[in-house]
């Protein structure tokens, strides 16, 4: 099993969610996060004083899928989240040792 984690621009969240639904993904987790990459931050001005704001708001999407689906999920996210501009985000895949559905106690692929 794989955990696909994506950091994307907040305004692309709906597009990514729709794309994942289209390929049949049953669930995902979303959190609002902030950080920086090559895009860096932006400046704000208060009474003439400039402030460098380093952390940019992003959305983190997490999807747990079986081995074979991981590549399709990554492709769907990348396609949906891309604008071609700097700051589009990252997607990465990690291996999961175990997964349990809390309600039934099912484990492994059955819990997905």
């Amino acid at each position: 099993m794989k955990l696909v984690t994506a950091i994307v621009k907040p305004f692309k969240l709906d597009d990514v969610k729709n794309a994942l639904e289209l390929i049949g993904i049953a669930g995902l987790t979303v959190s609002e996060v902030q950080g920086f990459g090559r895009q860096r931050g932006h400046t704000e001005v208060y009474r003439g004083a400039e402030y460098q704001v380093d952390f940019v708001p992003k959305v983190r999407i997490e999807v747990v899928v079986g081995e074979i689906d991981a590549a399709r999920v990554v492709d769907a996210i990348v396609e949906a989240a891309s604008t071609g501009q700097i700051g589009d985000g990252k997607v990465w895949v990690t291996t999961i040792d175990e997964i349990v559905r809390v309600r039934t106690g099912e484990r492994g692929a059955d819990a997905l």
């Binding site: 704000e44 001005v45 208060y46 009474r47 003439g48 004083a49 400039e50 402030y51 704001v53």
Partner: protein, 443 residues
């Protein structure tokens, strides 16, 4: 016999001016970081509570008692506890009950003290602030209010700026704004810079609060200025319009300056411009024409927008720009009378640009500078004595943790629906004593 129209207007104006202090609390509170919003607002509310009591006990008497010599001080015992002022003392010709005037002037004393707090955001012990507020009002504000606002009358001798110097300060450019601004500079220097000043981002945490506060200040300021006519008459109406238009022009002046310098017109700039315009028109609202008021406002907005940058160049941490807005705006508005006064306005004096020569101008400059120097010097001494004895400034750890938490044992906001993991049940006995030792109530 009481003039009912005048009395109704002055009592209303007094309530308007009272609202300025909670308005100021919002204006200042939104500008600090979230961890010190409550302390910022409490400095205004604390001043409100304390100065109101002192005013009744002896403040009114120092400001408006019969002069004890040189126009410097009213007799502090004449109206001790507002003694003898409950009767109707108005003449047959009709007038304002003394108590209406007492109430109207009380709220001026309150806001002047509250204004100073913007210079020492995030870092002043609340107890020390309250001691400072009481001492400062007693030895600085009450006497200066006597100089500026106490006019001679039958059997009564008032203050030197109002009666001897004859500087025009209609509603308090010197007594309120230059006074508070100079005190703010002195106190910012005594307390020193906040940890991280000039390095860390100290962004305003809630600009909507700032704009709401500026709106309430503007609303209340109509009482401050038009109420200072002390009558519901033509003079009050002229002042009202001047107060409106100067403030509008000042917003435009500040925003234009920002747009040219930084490329953006900001909401903080609009709120600050409004206050700068209100400050500048305060002394001059009775002596300039409405077009003159536009000039006063435009320049106030532009000059103050530039002046707020001085603290970074000179290295003093006047946290919320009391100096850049109130001292600079107050100086400009007071001195502007010398240039832009027109005899057609209620004050009936011509300034330099209206053929009046420099006669009024030098009076304005002397009044402004004397108040500035006296206030700065006296505040420096009071602040230093408090710092050396009871301590004025928080410890570094407390300042970084956040003054709301440490000093008031509260936090301004709880945005998480999960709560903070604490129990809401009231603590009892031993548990409460332990909690008190670990959190809060340290100052």
């Amino acid at each position: 016999m009481v003039n009912t129209g005048d009395t109704a207007w002055i009592l209303t104006s007094a309530a308007l001016v009272l609202l300025m202090t909670p308005g100021l609390a919002l204006f200042y509170g939104g500008m600090v970081r979230a961890k010190s919003v409550l302390n910022m607002m409490m400095m205004s509310f604390g001043a409100l509570a304390l100065i109101g009591v002192l005013w009744v006990l002896y403040g009114y008497s120092i400001a408006f008692g019969n002069d004890v010599g040189g126009g410097l001080l009213g007799n502090p015992t004449e109206f001790l506890g507002l003694n003898g002022l409950m009767e109707d003392l108005t003449s047959e010709a009709g007038g304002l009950p003394t108590m209406a005037f007492v109430g109207f002037q009380a709220v001026f004393a309150i806001i002047t003290v509250a204004l100073i707090s913007g210079a020492i955001a995030d870092r002043a012990k609340f107890g020390a602030w309250m001691v400072f507020a009481g001492v400062w009002a007693t030895v600085v504000y009450f006497p200066i209010a006597h100089w500026v606002f106490d006019f001679d009358a039958d059997g009564h001798i008032g203050g030197w700026i109002a009666n001897d110097l004859l500087a025009i300060d209609f509603a308090g450019g010197t007594a309120v704004h230059i006074n508070a601004g100079a005190a703010a500079l002195a106190l910012a220097l005594v307390l020193g810079r906040r940890r991280g000043f000039g390095r860390e981002a100290m962004r305003p945490h809630n600009l909507p609060l700032v704009m709401l506060g500026a709106g309430l200040l503007w609303f209340g300021w109509f009482g401050f200025n038009a109420g200072s006519a002390l009558a519901a008459n033509n003079s009050a109406a002229v002042v009202w319009v001047n107060t409106l238009v100067a403030t509008c022009a000042a917003i435009l002046g500040w925003l234009a300056t920002e747009k040219l310098r930084d490329g953006h017109a900001t909401s903080l700039g609009a709120a600050s411009g409004a206050v700068a315009g209100l400050v500048a028109i305060t002394p001059s609202c009775s002596s300039v024409s409405p077009v003159g008021a536009i000039i006063v406002g435009l320049l106030a907005g532009a000059v103050c927008a530039l002046a707020v940058g001085l603290k970074y160049k000179l290295g003093y941490d006047d946290s919320l720009d009391v100096v850049g807005v109130h001292l600079v705006g107050g100086l400009w508005g007071t001195i502007a009378v010398g240039f832009l006064a027109t005899a057609e306005a209620p004050a009936g004096v011509d300034g330099l640009f209206y053929g009046g020569g420099v006669d009024q101008l030098w009076r304005q400059v002397v009044g402004a500078l004397v108040v500035m120097v006296v206030s700065f010097g006296a505040t420096w001494i009071i602040g230093t004595v408090i710092q050396r004895t009871m301590g004025f400034r928080l410890t570094e750890e407390d300042e970084v943790t956040g003054i709301d938490n440490v000093v008031h044992a509260e936090s301004g906001y709880d945005f998480t629906s999960l709560g903070s993991g604490g129990s809401t049940a009231p603590l009892a006995g031993q548990a409460r004593a332990e909690a008190r030792n670990t959190e809060g109530v340290r100052a």
